[in-house]
């Protein structure tokens, strides 16, 4: 463990710190932005999409820098990527199902699938 090595270690450490500070500030700004963004009504599912987009950016900041994915081993990156792929499958399929469930064989009026459900949920 020579001096040179130690210095190297240290300035390595320092420019790490710079990055972390930037990320930290970035996250704070991101949070403020989502709150502001939620004030504008885009209507439909746009609000959710926007909020999700910002959240994904913030999350990837944490993943890549705070969780060191950037300098992680290839296999670790693979694990992370694969997991998110699987996550998407899990999230997408039920929604796709529900969305396409009434494409056919839905009559108007009293056969509306929700007609029977009394409005307020507090009908125990």
């Amino acid at each position: 463990m020579s001096e040179a090595k130690k210095d190297h270690h240290d300035d390595h450490h320092d420019d790490h710190m710079k990055v972390y500070w930037l990320v930290f500030v970035g996250l704070l700004i991101g949070t403020v932005i989502t709150v502001l963004a939620s004030k504008i009504k885009l209507g439909g599912y746009m609000d959710v999409t926007l909020a999700l987009a910002i959240a994904i950016c913030k999350a990837s900041l944490v993943l890549i820098f705070f969780m060191h994915l950037r300098e992680a081993a290839r296999i670790v990156k693979l694990v992370a990527a694969g997991t998110f792929l699987w996550l998407i499958i899990l999230l997408a399929y039920p929604v796709v199902d529900i969305a396409s469930r009434y494409w056919i064989a839905v009559e108007p009026g009293w056969l509306n699938p929700h007609a029977e459900l009394s409005g307020p949920a507090d009908t125990e």
């Binding site: 699987w86 039920p94 199902d97 396409s100 469930r101 056919i104």
Partner: protein
């Protein structure tokens, strides 16, 4: 090439004898045996339940059992057999014992975690058994809402907790195995030199890690719904019971592959050994395991064709299900082709392996019926389904498990079992099994619904066949239990490599292995299943000397 030294050392069984040394062991081999004893125990419980209601089903009326008792029995049979026998059977017992040996490693990557997962498994098991003792559960192993969350008045929460906890045991095992396969391979052991058993374990572990947590959270939500009234799936609050089925099957269909893939691995190794020949199309068999593991995640919806899920989603699921059939077909052909121009030795493990191929073939082909939408509408929730998954799970997985246990028993215990009786039991189990479940295909197409306690008269004759066959199968299994017990205490000492098998666990360490597996760290220089390797045949004498 390095080989085990001649004189017999203390082995992992004899080195320490105290109970404490077993309960606190970090040795993957001992953990494997702990699992072996525990799941045999659970298997007996599940089997007893099955025996009871099969007896009752012999006649159309309710003879011995009340409706409640019947429902509780088949639920107990399902929960215990699936979560406490089938899922851990090969990975936790054979996998734990063999994985490091096959990789030439001293242990799995995380020995403590390994032991911990056994304890978690036992805690989960205890919860389930307590649920049974407190009066049982009657929801079926699928825990479908809203029946399980609102209407059932049995110990759903307790049983669900058991499943929830056990889930983490298999997650941790999965993490352990994946890391072990990646990081613990000995020099020279490249990916395509791995035994196919390791490939299948690897695929299984991936499913365990990615699938099981979803079951955990689903069960967790079910518990919240039942316990606190957080009605996430409650239709009375606008919730969607079909969503529960989606989340449940997202794990529980891949779980089917958790149960069967390790079986594939066992069969591959055994076919190679008893044909003295490399498995035909090694790369294809290995890759097909991975393919099954991946595609297996995209097909869960075929359990829900009549559940009022979207017909379009249904079509996608149906299509993908057929795709899973292809790699499975490849495996069957390759195993059969492995014997071609080989040197076939019909010992008990081989009999089980051949039985597996036959039964799993039928199981797989009848799977096609159930992925065909129009047919599944008729067959869903009938005895056809029951027969199908018993052909895959019992005819496939249980046979594979027995096959593996027969194959590696000498390595585990250092003792041999009676060749004659083992063959007898193999034949009895095979015959009894077919007699039990084949009639159920016919019944199923005639429309006999599953989970029926009393049923129309015309099905009686088929049920009586089933009951008869079940008793034959039970006889065969008890036989196996007997000669294994005998072998454990009095069995003849095994030589280092009684089957002349290829593989580090046979050629590079004594029988039974020493605690740290290998005298000197092995180095692999040969391809997998290289039965031209003479050391296979010479070790025999070295060990004797």
């Amino acid at each position: 090439m390095a080989t085990a030294t001649a004189e017999h050392h203390e082995n992992y069984l004899t080195e320490l004898k105290t109970i404490k040394s077993w309960l606190l062991t970090l040795d993957h081999k001992r953990v494997g045996l702990l699992y072996l004893f525990s799941i045999v125990f659970f298997f007996l419980i599940g089997g007893t339940a099955a025996a009871l209601f099969r007896l009752d089903l012999a006649t159309a009326e309710a003879d011995v059992l009340s409706h409640e008792t019947y429902n509780k029995l088949f639920t107990m049979h399902g929960v215990v057999m699936i979560f406490f026998f089938l899922v851990p059977s090969v990975p936790a017992v054979l996998g734990n014992f063999l994985l490091p040996l096959m990789l030439g490693a001293k242990d799995v990557a995380f020995p403590r975690l390994n032991l911990a997962s056994w304890y978690i498994f036992m805690i989960g098991g205890t919860f389930t058994l307590v649920a049974v003792l407190m009066g049982g559960v009657d929801t079926g192993w699928t825990f479908y809402t809203p029946y399980s969350s609102t209407y059932a008045n049995t110990n759903v929460i307790m049983a669900a907790l058991g499943v929830f906890i056990t889930g983490f045991s298999s997650i941790l095992t999965g993490v352990n195995f994946v890391v072990t396969v990646h990081k613990m391979r000995c020099p020279g052991l490249t990916w395509f030199r791995l035994p196919l058993f390791v490939w299948s374990l690897y695929a299984t572990s991936l499913i365990m890690v990615l699938g099981t947590p979803v079951l955990a959270i689903t069960i967790f939500l079910l518990i919240l719904e039942r316990g606190l009234g957080i009605g996430v799936f409650d239709p009375k609050l606008g919730g969607d019971p079909v969503l529960f089925q989606h989340m449940f099957w997202f794990y529980s269909h891949p779980a089917v592959y958790i149960m069967i893939l390790p079986g594939f691995g066992v069969i591959s190794d055994v076919m190679a050994c008893f044909s003295r020949k490399r498995v035909y199309g090694y790369e294809f068999v290995a890759m097909s395991s991975m393919a099954i593991a991946v595609i297996g995640f995209f097909v869960w919806g075929h359990h829900m064709f009549v559940s009022s899920q979207s017909i379009y989603a249904g079509m996608v699921f149906s299509f993908l299900t057929f795709l899973v059939g292809i790699p499975t077909a490849i495996k069957i052909f390759n195993w059969t082709a492995t014997m071609f121009r080989g040197s076939v030795w019909l010992e008990a493990p081989m009999l089980y392996a051949l039985g597996f191929i036959g039964l799993f073939l039928i199981g797989g082909l009848t799977g096609l019926y159930l992925s065909t939408m129009a047919l599944d509408v008729h067959l869903h929730d009938t005895y056809f389904v029951v027969a199908h998954f018993h052909y895959v799970m019992v005819g496939g997985m249980m046979m594979a498990w027995l096959c593996g246990v027969h194959f590696w028993w000498p390595k585990m215990t250092g003792r041999l079992y009676s060749a004659y009786w083992s063959k007898m039991s193999a034949i009895l189990v095979f015959a009894g099994f077919n007699f039990t479940f084949f009639p159920q295909f016919i019944m199923g197409y005639m429309g006999m619904p599953r989970r029926y306690h009393i049923y129309p008269k015309e099905f009686e004759v088929f049920h009586q066949m089933s009951t008869l066959g079940a008793s034959i199968m039970g006889l065969g299994l008890l036989m196996a239990l007997c000669y294994f017990t005998h072998s454990w205490f009095r069995g003849e000492k095994a030589t280092q490599n009684p089957w002349y098998a290829f593989g580090l666990e046979w050629t590079h360490t004594q029988t039974p292995p020493i605690t740290h597996n290998f005298e000197e760290d092995p180095v692999v220089t040969r391809e997998a299943y290289d039965y031209e390797d003479e050391s296979i045949y010479t070790n025999e004498d070295k060990a004797r000397a």
